[in-house]
Subunit: 204 residues, 2 copies
């Protein structure tokens, strides 16, 4: 019935990348519409507000990202190696984005979350949710490593939170210093946090 359209998907994608590249407050609805090739009226036909779009855009992005994380944290890979690869992929991903956008963009969820945390609770809650989901992958890997004996026993959930906090902090630092090299060799520190015996702990 009626006609069809890809305007909604366009808006979601454009909004996510524009906000990631600058910030929530730094991007206007007009800009998003222009880049998406959609009129403002259509924007408000699909979304009730700018904040609603942001929440939907981050949800959509997670959906598209999930397969990649599933692959990265595949049961085929030894649990500790999953974590090492995850650290390396964070570095690679930021390097790519930095080349494309001209500056280090950091973690999109954390960036928008910390920006609007005290102002918009829906966006804050969405950022919290997505960070929690990311942490879950880490937690599962840690728990499995403990079970198979490659890691001493401990509270996997809390360890995952600490390790994830460290990586978020490093991403934050990389963005503020606009230097992707901050993200080299995250893995040894993550290993230290989760209590793995240091094999090749270079400097930290």
């Amino acid at each position: 019935m009626g006609r069809t359209s890809d305007a909604k998907e366009k808006l979601l994608e454009v909004a996510f990348h524009l906000i990631w590249d600058s910030s929530y407050g730094g991007v206007s609805v007009d800009q998003i519409c222009e880049r998406a090739g959609v009129n403002k009226g259509s924007f408000y036909y699909y979304f009730g507000s700018k904040a609603d779009l942001a929440v939907a855009a981050y949800d959509e992005h997670w959906k598209q990202r999930q397969p990649e994380l599933d692959r990265l944290f595949s049961a085929q890979i030894p649990p500790l190696e999953r974590l090492t690869r995850w650290c390396e992929s964070a570095y690679e991903r930021q390097k790519e984005k930095a080349n494309k956008f001209g500056h280090v963009c950091g973690c999109p969820y954390a960036s928008i979350g910390v920006e609007v945390a005290t102002q918009d609770d829906k966006i804050r809650a969405k950022a919290e949710e997505l960070i929690a989901r990311g942490t879950k992958y880490v937690e599962t890997a840690i728990a499995e490593a403990q079970r198979e004996g490659s890691l001493p026993a401990g509270d996997a959930k809390q360890m995952a939170q600490q390790a994830y906090s460290f990586v978020l902090g490093a991403l934050l630092r990389a963005k503020i210093q606009n230097d992707v090299e901050v993200l080299r060799d995250l893995a040894p520190t993550v290993m230290a946090i989760i209590g793995a015996k240091s094999e090749t702990r270079v400097a930290a």
Copy 2:
């Protein structure tokens, strides 16, 4: 000559707290002026732009904060204990602010830095500078601990950066989750990062 005024100082203080409580983009020059009891004309008599004020306000805040950090990282205190106290003070400070403002505010430098990093280079650079200065305290403590043998040798600077990144990440998480309890027991993880032998490593 001419009359004197405390308008400038008022603006600096009000701006810092307003931005910390919400965000750079979420606070308007009008709001700052109103809360400071200063007219807009006076604002632009003292500061060339909103961004200039922000830079000045964060600089001023550092000046006021420095004595506290000097005390916290006093040479009188054993170096590793300095770090423990620093972690505890971060928790206490956020708890106080959360009670006062009604929500967890996180690290002011990191919050504004990550918000405007890709948009305003002067503010970005100031945030970078202040974070680097904070890291220096940690680095000195680590280096001293290594010298006195309470910590194995290693690259103190890099260790400090990793430890500081972790704390920044935890502050970020606390803000997004709006839960100050995220910041309890940072010290054990910091100790793990810098390679201290775990005495009372509870869970992480």
